[in-house]
């Protein structure tokens, strides 16, 4: 692992250098450099199969990179130990193929588990969980079975779980899949509020319009980074066309499918 020169305080929350990862021969993610500073709101967009989710998993230390390095809060992602500082909302949160009986408050309380370790869940832990439910506006659903919620409500539950853990970095993988349009708007408003309160957000999202509207920075990915910068500049650039290959242009960099 490459040496980390950054401390915890002011360093980037996420730092990837030359990150490459592939199943079999062809890389899914290639030479990705990405640095996310505290307080940023980064939206990652790209076509299906462009390696967005894989990139997130690499950054979270769930996969070992083939080459390059990924650091999370100043530590190598694979060996990162202070897990409570990162919240993760997975792609399939809104599916309910699993009929497991569990209440909203039980799910949110899981955010406190890394704090509790093998110890008991304390009253303070429960208060954190309640507070998180209030923040996302679903405290009235605390005793509901999670499978009895709508996609939007369920998504809020998972965000509350991350907040209950006092996460500094919230990582979301296509959180709006399976959520109705109205709830999607409310969801982005919620994220805006959390970012305003100092949370750092790293979001993979298929809705490019929403990312341009809400995020403070856009990363456009299709195996490699096609664009990284200001949302307005992204909207005006041709990165989208190149990454998605709608208008195939080959002159400037990158293989376009």
């Amino acid at each position: 692992m490459s040496g980390s020169h950054t401390g915890d305080g002011d360093g980037p929350l996420v730092e990837a250098r030359d990150l490459t990862f592939g199943y079999a021969a062809s890389p899914v993610v290639e030479d990705v450099d990405l640095r996310v500073e505290r307080g940023e709101y980064v939206g990652i967009v790209g076509p299906n199969g462009s390696g967005k989710s894989t990139l997130l998993r690499l950054l979270l230390g769930l996969h070992e990179a083939d080459s390059g390095s990924a650091e999370l809060l100043g530590h190598p992602a694979r060996a990162f130990a202070e897990r409570e500082r990162v919240g993760y909302v997975a792609q399939d949160v809104t599916e309910d193929e699993k009929r497991m009986p569990i209440t909203v408050s039980e799910v949110v309380l899981m955010g406190r588990f890394p704090h509790a370790g093998f110890g008991r869940v304390t009253a303070a832990d429960r208060e954190h969980a309640r507070e998180a439910l209030r923040t996302v506006g679903i405290e009235h659903l605390a005793d509901r079975k999670i499978t009895a919620l709508s996609g939007g409500q369920r998504q809020r539950t998972y965000i509350a779980r991350a907040l209950a853990g006092e996460a500094e970095l919230l990582v979301l993988d296509e959180p709006t899949v399976g959520v109705d349009a109205e709830s999607v708007d409310a969801f982005f408003d919620l994220l805006d509020g959390l970012v305003a309160d100092g949370l750092t957000v790293l979001l993979v999202e298929h809705d490019i319009g929403a990312v341009i509207e809400h995020a403070s920075r856009v990363v456009c990915l299709n195996r490699e980074v096609y664009f990284d910068g200001d949302p307005t500049a992204f909207a005006e650039s041709d990165a989208l066309d190149r990454a998605y290959g709608t208008n195939v242009r080959r002159e400037e960099g990158g293989i376009v499918t």
């Binding site: 497991m100 569990i102 899981m110 990582v171 899949v177 109705d180």
Partner: protein
Amino acid sequence: MTPAALSAVLLSVPLVSAPYDLLARLVGLWSDGLGWVGERLGIEMLDYVFMHHAFLVGALIAVMAPLIGTFLVHRQLALIGDALAHTAFAGVAVGLFVNSLLGTGISPYVTAIVVAVIAALAIELISETTDAYNDVSMAIVLSTGFALGAVLISLNSGGLAVGINQYLFGNLSTVSRENAVLLVVLFAVVALVVTVTYKQLLYVTFDETAARVAGVNVPWYNRLMTTLTALVVVGAMQIMGVILVAAMLVVPVAAAAQLARGFREALLASVVLAQIAVLVGITLSFRYNTTAGGTIVLVAVAVYVAAVLAGKVQSRRVGDETPERADGAESSTSD
């Protein structure tokens, strides 16, 4: 040291040691207590010491089987119990075989524990290297275990006759004080481990990826869970039998899932329902002289059907709380 030799040591030590004596005395006290109750209330089946043991063993099984089963079922791993039960049968056969070969007196249940735990770790190893629990490898483990057991026993007796029905279908009347003590020990181990690791097991069961992000060592807890399953299966095999033991891991849990909203609630409900099934089942089995495992499972299934019906009534009554589904929301392809 071979597993059998190891288990011989394991068995010979506690049999003469103080902890064993203490537990045996506790089992004795339980027996005296139930005998007294039976005499007072004129309950005939409580005249028999083996019934005291059966009720003790049954009640302990009805706590630990749904306890572990709840974690398994909600990970769609119900089949693991069945696979391990069949390898435990191989363990029983190993015990009987070694005993007849060397003239030792190892309890077949101890060899069953050793073999089932080894199989449990093997299943985990397979699933870790192939990155999935798959039906095929589970089915292979299941049939290998059963085939090995059948071959060893036929080698042993020159035919498949000798007393294997007891292991296949379970038997109330053979529950000895030693068996009851073994079960108390298994129960203590399972209950203690689940209490300490409840949060981690719940996290892994509910959302494996998020658990990994949260720093839970998922492979380690998977191994732990399967090993506990092996212990429970061997413990319950005594009265449930190899073939039906997995039902105790699954049926009460499925019934509880119909009624409970929360996970802790579901755990409690599954234990209560399992207790009903075991107590009623053992009583009926004694009364009508039917096989205990089968009777318990039939009662458990009846409880399950009742729970499904109750769940339907319940959800109709709270009709306004039905899911507000986000429709027209096909999940998109993932990266």
